[in-house]
């Protein structure tokens, strides 16, 4: 699927500095088929392929001279990639690593290796585990039958290995109260033995499967040049990030299905400015810090 381009004048965002380097390490392959996935990942979506260890190392090496601050890994489900543990072990020699996972495919031996790798490193390894409701009914309606329990099992495994996962929660219903959602997750996780639950709440991105599940963007949902006046451009992912895929380097983790978002083959080629003409850019603009480990909140108009 390709994202439509809008026929409008869009502001251009320069890369301030490449702080965050992302890897689409499992392509678009996932063991789950979540109904809100903005790149429609599934067991059968091989639109983007896996990255192997050698490829990741090539980009890690290039990232050193560019002064990259942190590394992020996503998919698809990263732990479907047979090189994933080795990739994280390698990355922790370069800098901090965060992996975005659905938490349903962990193996003890992997987490033991990763515990040892993080302990030996100056840098931290963060796990962001996706979960979309604090009840089985709410979560499973989006992520699939039985996933609620499987995700919690994954969270418990991480806790057993002394990791402190960040539960990444998408606000999947418009009428959901964000505070209620947050409090519900705090209760759920404490009940599961997670004494200091870490939670990040995200808006949906109305592209990919999500456009069919709920709704797509409206005609006026876009960023115009006037909207950039007095706006903190650092809130936009494209001002400080790039995304490595098996098909080249893209501007951000969200727009990999947009042909104009492919900026080159090497990191050096990808450093050029980007016109934020996509509708998903509007969500990034509204909330900011969408892809960081910190929480995202809708900003005052």
């Amino acid at each position: 699927m390709q994202l439509p381009l809008l026929d409008t004048t869009a502001p251009t965002v320069a890369l301030t500095h490449l702080d965050d380097l992302w890897f689409q390490v499992a392509g678009t392959t996932c063991n789950l088929t979540c109904r809100h996935c903005f790149i429609s990942c599934s067991p059968h979506n091989h639109n983007f392929g896996f990255l192997d260890l050698a490829t990741v190392q090539r980009y890690l090496d290039e990232s050193v001279s560019l002064g990259v601050k942190e590394y992020y890994f996503t998919g698809g489900e990263p732990f479907l990639n047979r090189d994933m543990v080795a990739i994280l072990e390698l990355t922790l020699r370069y800098g901090p690593a965060t992996v975005l996972t659905n938490g349903t495919v962990f193996r003890n031996e992997w987490l033991e290796r990763l515990r040892a790798a993080e302990a030996a490193s100056t840098y931290g390894l963060e796990f962001r585990v996706s979960m979309d409701g604090f009840t089985p009914a709410e979560n499973d309606a989006v992520r699939g039958d039985g996933t609620f329990e499987r995700i919690l099992q994954g969270v418990r495994l991480l806790l057993d290995h002394d990791f402190l996962p960040i539960l990444t929660v998408t606000k999947t219903r418009d009428d959901q109260d964000e505070s209620d959602l947050f409090d519900g997750f705090v209760r759920l996780l404490k009940d599961c033995g997670y004494a200091r639950p870490r939670i990040k709440i995200l808006p949906t991105l109305r592209i990919g499967a999500e456009a069919d599940r709920q709704r797509g963007y409206g005609e006026t949902d876009r960023v115009t040049p006037e909207m950039m006046a007095a706006y903190d451009v650092h809130l936009l992912v494209c001002s400080h990030s790039r995304m490595v895929t098996d098909r080249g380097v893209y501007v951000c983790p969200i727009l990999i299905e947009a042909p104009d978002a492919r900026l080159g083959t090497t990191l050096a080629e990808s450093l050029r400015p980007f016109a934020i003409k996509h509708q998903a850019c509007y969500t990034c603009y509204q909330y900011g810090a969408l892809c960081s480990n910190a929480s995202s909140r809708e900003r005052d108009a």
């Binding site: 990259v68 800098g95 100056t122 840098y123 931290g124 402190l164 200091r196 650092h234 929480s295």
Partner: protein, 259 residues
């Protein structure tokens, strides 16, 4: 100039500042600096300023100072979790209401960075990072090549920062250094009540010493209670464990704490 004392956030902890100043003078420093965030957390904001002025501490502006000085609605600490923001609001409201007009004006006019020469080293002092006042540079989430980039881009041999509340340092290539000097305002989440500052000396090469500052923390705790500041803040001062504003911590730093 070969020997300097550098203080991080004071957070209204005038008793720790007093103790740190005495310690630094006893060690014969050439100058003392503060990297900003005079207010927050503790009691009686206005008691910090006479100490800074009387002892000639050269200060830069932190996010708190910018907010208090300019009458902004929040502290610009950079928290994103509602649990962190709840306590940040209480802390800011108290500090803002109890900082006198003259001190607010003084905060408003502080420089955001300062450059000094320490022996052969070009030192750049900032609050969070050289590029953003409220950027958190934690040890576990800051790559060495990113620090190389920062020092190169800002033409410095040593960068000094605070903001995170936890001290750390990294030696970079070509005899360059990054030092987070820690804070005087609250203990650093290690179960000990003392706080820290950094002493930088140059003889043949740079020597960085983190100095523990013991002060009458029970007196501070009593004053905080009298001012009706949150019991959670008082507990941190007394126990050395952070009880609030924890969600901003990366996993590696968070794991070392109790909560």
């Amino acid at each position: 100039m070969n020997r300097i004392a550098v203080f991080g956030g004071i957070y209204n902890n005038y008793l720790a500042l007093e103790a740190a100043l005495m310690d630094a003078h006893r060690r014969g420093v050439d100058a003392a600096y503060c990297l900003g965030d005079m207010g927050a957390f503790g009691p009686h904001p206005d008691r910090v300023f006479p100490l800074l002025r009387d002892h000639g501490v050269q200060c830069i502006q932190g996010n708190y100072d910018n907010s208090v000085g300019n009458g902004l609605a929040d502290c610009q600490c950079g928290y994103t979790d509602p649990r962190d923001n709840h306590f940040a609001r209480l802390s800011y409201a108290y500090t803002f209401a109890n900082t006198g007009a003259a001190n607010r004006a003084w905060l408003r006019n502080l420089p955001t960075q300062r450059r000094v020469q320490l022996g052969r080293y070009r030192v750049l002092m900032c609050h969070g990072s050289p590029r953003r006042t409220n950027e958190f540079l934690w040890e576990s989430t800051t790559s060495t090549h990113f620090l190389d980039h920062l020092l190169e881009a800002h033409q410095a041999d040593i960068v000094l920062a605070t903001h995170t509340g936890i001290k750390w340092q990294r030696r970079l290539g070509h005899d360059r250094h990054f030092v987070n000097v820690g804070v005087l305002g609250r203990p650093e989440n290690d179960g000990a009540a003392h706080v820290w500052y950094a002493l930088l000396s140059v003889a043949k090469e740079l020597h960085v010493e983190f100095v523990p500052v013991h002060y009458d923390h029970e007196k501070l705790a009593a004053e905080m209670r009298a001012e009706r500041l949150p019991a959670e803040f008082v507990e941190t001062i007394r126990t050395g464990w952070w009880t609030t504003c924890l969600e901003i911590l990366p996993a590696k730093e968070r794991r070392r704490g109790k909560f």
